[in-house]
């Protein structure tokens, strides 16, 4: 349907303008003069988005019209912020953006019938787990700030957890689609608590164990939390049993508590979170600087390019990892509380669109996959923003589409591609009034 695509095209225009204006602001700040370079950048960006749009028009005419512009908005936002930190990083990021779009197109091209994913779910799950554990493989693993999140093969380094999250969600969506019925029907009440059947308790324990193992192996509370929360979200949506979520949460908290108490690095992270002023110049430095940077922002921020990232006249860092972990603090500093609210609102809109797709989707797998992808995306944003605002311990998760990092942007474009694939089918069916053969609402689906 072309009306949806027209809306998408219309929405892309303000995004391109915003990017142009953002670059113009940074230029004005840096060089005290306005060249037409910002216009050039704006035009490039618009051209790339336009090409993607045309592709979507051909391949996925019915897909949600707002998701791509919203994600382009985040990317534009990130590009301007990163450009403001370091021009060469922004160039890398722009390249990753284009590469991400290529992979986005390829995903759409080859996964039109995305339910084939269900067939390979165990392979996908295994790949996901391997990806997660890869940073601990000697020789290719990379340790950053005590957490194992990176992999370096030759000149290429990437964060496998970004791709693993998609793999795990695909597996969970498929597994739960198949087993949700037994999980519900087989549940029994013991001491007033609804427990899943023992037989299926096993797989859940496996997921729980995996996320605990993650915590121990990669030592990153944020990543572990992100995976487990996505699992609980899916479990809840699949079974409608809130008690399962509560049990899961208790299990996670118990496990996390035990690991926090025993694994020194994770323990440190939690200590810093609770008492940042204990070591204000050492371990607590990053979180304190992150918060100080926000305090400087106020309601409207200091303006693009105004934040202090290094001590003037030196190369001493004032805001560690400004282009990745603490980019949100930089945004609060320069654009203020209102700018930050705008950013959070954008994530919320994406989440809303994502869940809308899940609501419209006809079959269980599509529903669960859309829910899972959206949830993991939203939770990732929560984990890193929550980290730099001291809601939870700070961890090395990226802010989707905004943080500097190829893996993050590429993986999230794949995630977007999957969502649009689901959306395209769901909306087409809704329009044509198709009663789907794989329907499983209400209960009763079996593939």
């Amino acid at each position: 349907m072309t009306r949806a695509r027209n809306r998408e095209l219309l929405a892309l225009i303000p995004v391109a303008l915003l990017l142009t204006a953002g670059f113009a602001a940074v230029f004005a700040q840096d060089h005290a003069k306005l060249g037409n370079l910002s216009l050039t950048y704006g035009a490039y960006f618009f051209a790339v988005c336009l090409a993607t749009h045309v592709y979507l028009r051909i391949r996925l005419p019915h897909a949600d019209p707002y998701l791509f512009p919203l994600m382009a908005l985040l990317t534009a936002f990130g590009l301007v912020m990163i450009y403001r930190i370091d021009e060469s990083l922004a160039r890398d990021q722009a390249n990753w953006f284009v590469f991400g779009l290529v992979l986005f197109a390829l995903t759409i091209q080859f996964l039109r019938d995305y339910e084939v994913l269900e067939r390979y779910r165990y392979i996908i799950a295994t790949a996901g787990i391997l990806l997660l554990l890869a940073p601990r493989i000697p020789g290719i693993g990379e340790q950053v700030n005590g957490a194992y999140l990176g992999v370096k093969i030759g000149p290429i380094s990437f964060q496998p957890s970004e791709f693993a999250k998609i793999a795990i969600v695909i597996f969970l969506a498929s597994y739960l689609r198949e087993n949700r019925e037994v999980l519900i029907v087989g549940a029994r009440r013991i001491l007033g608590v609804t427990l899943p059947p023992i037989k299926h308790f096993g797989p859940m324990l496996v997921v729980w164990g995996a996320s605990m193992l993650l915590l121990v192996f990669i030592r990153d509370l944020g990543t572990s939390l992100m995976f487990f929360a996505a699992f609980l979200a899916l479990l809840y949506v699949a079974t409608g049993r809130f008690s399962f979520v509560v049990i899961g949460m208790i299990l996670f908290l118990l496990g996390a508590w035990f690991i926090v108490a025993t694994v020194p690095h994770v323990h440190d992270r939690v200590e810093i979170w609770l008492h940042p002023y204990n070591e204000p110049q050492e371990n607590g430095y990053q979180i304190l600087q992150s918060i100080f940077a926000q305090a400087d922002g106020g309601l409207f921020g200091k303006g693009f390019g105004q934040a202090l990232i290094t001590v003037p006249g030196t190369h001493d860092t004032m805001l560690p990892a400004a282009q990745t972990d603490t980019i949100y603090s930089l945004i609060v500093n320069e654009l203020g509380l209102f700018g930050a609210c705008g950013l959070i609102a954008t994530y919320l809109l994406i989440t809303a669109r994502g869940f809308k797709i899940a609501l419209l989707a006809g079959d269980g797998f599509s529903k669960l996959l859309a829910t899972g992808l959206t949830a993991v995306f939203a939770i990732q944003a929560f984990v890193i923003i929550g980290g730099v605002t001291r809601v939870i311990p700070l961890t090395g998760v990226t802010l989707p589409f905004v943080s500097y990092g190829g893996s993050s942007i590429v993986a999230n474009f794949v995630l977007l591609a999957l969502l649009l694939l689901i959306s395209n089918r769901a909306r087409r069916e809704a329009e044509q009034g198709v009663t789907h053969s794989r329907g499983d609402e209400p209960l009763g689906a079996a593939a």
């Binding site: 304190l288 400087d296 006249g313």
Partner: protein, 487 residues
Amino acid sequence: MNRQIIKLFAFIVVLFAVLVGFTSWWSVFDAKGLKASKWNQRPLLEQQQIPRGRILAADGSVIAKSFSKGHGAGKRYIRHYPTGTLFGHPIGYSFVQYGQSEFEKSHNAELTGEESEFGTILDQLTGKKQEGEQIVTNLDVHAQEVAMGDLEAAGHGAVVAIEPSTGAVKVMASNPGYDPNSIPHKLSKLNQEKVDTPLLNRATQGRYPPGSTFKVVTAAAGLESGVITPESTIDAPGSIIDEGHELANDYHRDWGSISLDTALTNSVNTWFGQLGQKLGQKKLFTTMEKFGFGSLPPIDLPEEELLASGVYDYETQKLLNRNDPVDLARVAIGQERLLATPLQIAMVAAGVANGGKLMKPQIWNRVVNADGSVTKRLSPAVYSEPVSKKTAEELTTAMEGVVREGTGTNAAIPGVQVAGKTGTAETPGNEACGGGEAENQAWFMGFAPADHPKIAIAASVECTEQFGNDVAAPIFRDVAEAILNGE
């Protein structure tokens, strides 16, 4: 499943709301506290990059300005004080590594151009860099020079001169002073000088027994409450017994039955001691409080660098209130444990001079932005009305007698009617005086011209052998002349 998806969405909305909540907390609600954290270098480093606004005297001469050092991202501004020691007080200093004091500290927001949030966003849209605004003060360079010169000749002490009708502070001098330019290499040394305490602004933080200058407050309370009229007389013998101790006049002189004019002109202790007893603590304290005793003075200097005047418990260093036991007759003559700053005594003079309306004393006059337009101007504000116009006139008449024929004749200015009051408080055992005979706190407070006052002044000299009329009254005269001639 749709119901669960909607609930899940609601849950994520809650999560994001928490993020907005925390961000608001750090960026807005707790921002002030975070900026004050000693681990937070940002405010200092950022201020260093802002061309801080100049501070000017009333005549436009520059008291403080900033010059730039370095280039590009390393560019920063450093403070310079062309007038050196002259305005070390009350202007203070501002250096990133050494902090800020006095006027530089209390007016930091304007000097760094910290506008309202809306002003900031407008500047951002127009691409304007934050730039400090300059402040024109009420300070009178010539009169300040006279005050500093006289004080340097007389000893440690302070002078405060206020325009009664507006509260404009024209002089605030404190000796010994310091050169703010020397702060970066001398701060710790200056801090170690425990006797000279050059960093202490004696005008606002020097607490001295006000002695007989306080009799004006006692008289004000008597007239205002109706306990006395200008005509009523009190018998003033050579001495009275108060709380078991003798309270005597100079040379034990018995003045017989006299009225306010005679009593004030000759500073008769037994007269005012008895007036204090007649008034009672409540009435006396009420008038005191209206003149500003018991609270920090409403001046535009940092609160932590101000001291309240009043009756102090020496051990706890706490102010006593109207219900605490005090020796009222001795409070009434400015002794007991009563301590006042020169600023407070100048406020008493200014309140009487302005027909009973005490204006808030203010050092700043107007804020001028980088374009040269005035963004804010001092609008004189009434702090309190301690006495009626009638009482003020009656007090003025009595104070004129002091200068014409009484204890304060050295304050007289040829061709100008002067109203004033001397004070000489004995401060036995004052460690700051370093022992010896020189243990008087000498005062003069007053205003001129008496019929339409242009200036109210308090001058105070520590640790002197001399009386108020000998050492403080001439300072008053010189400073008053400098201001009146300058107009």
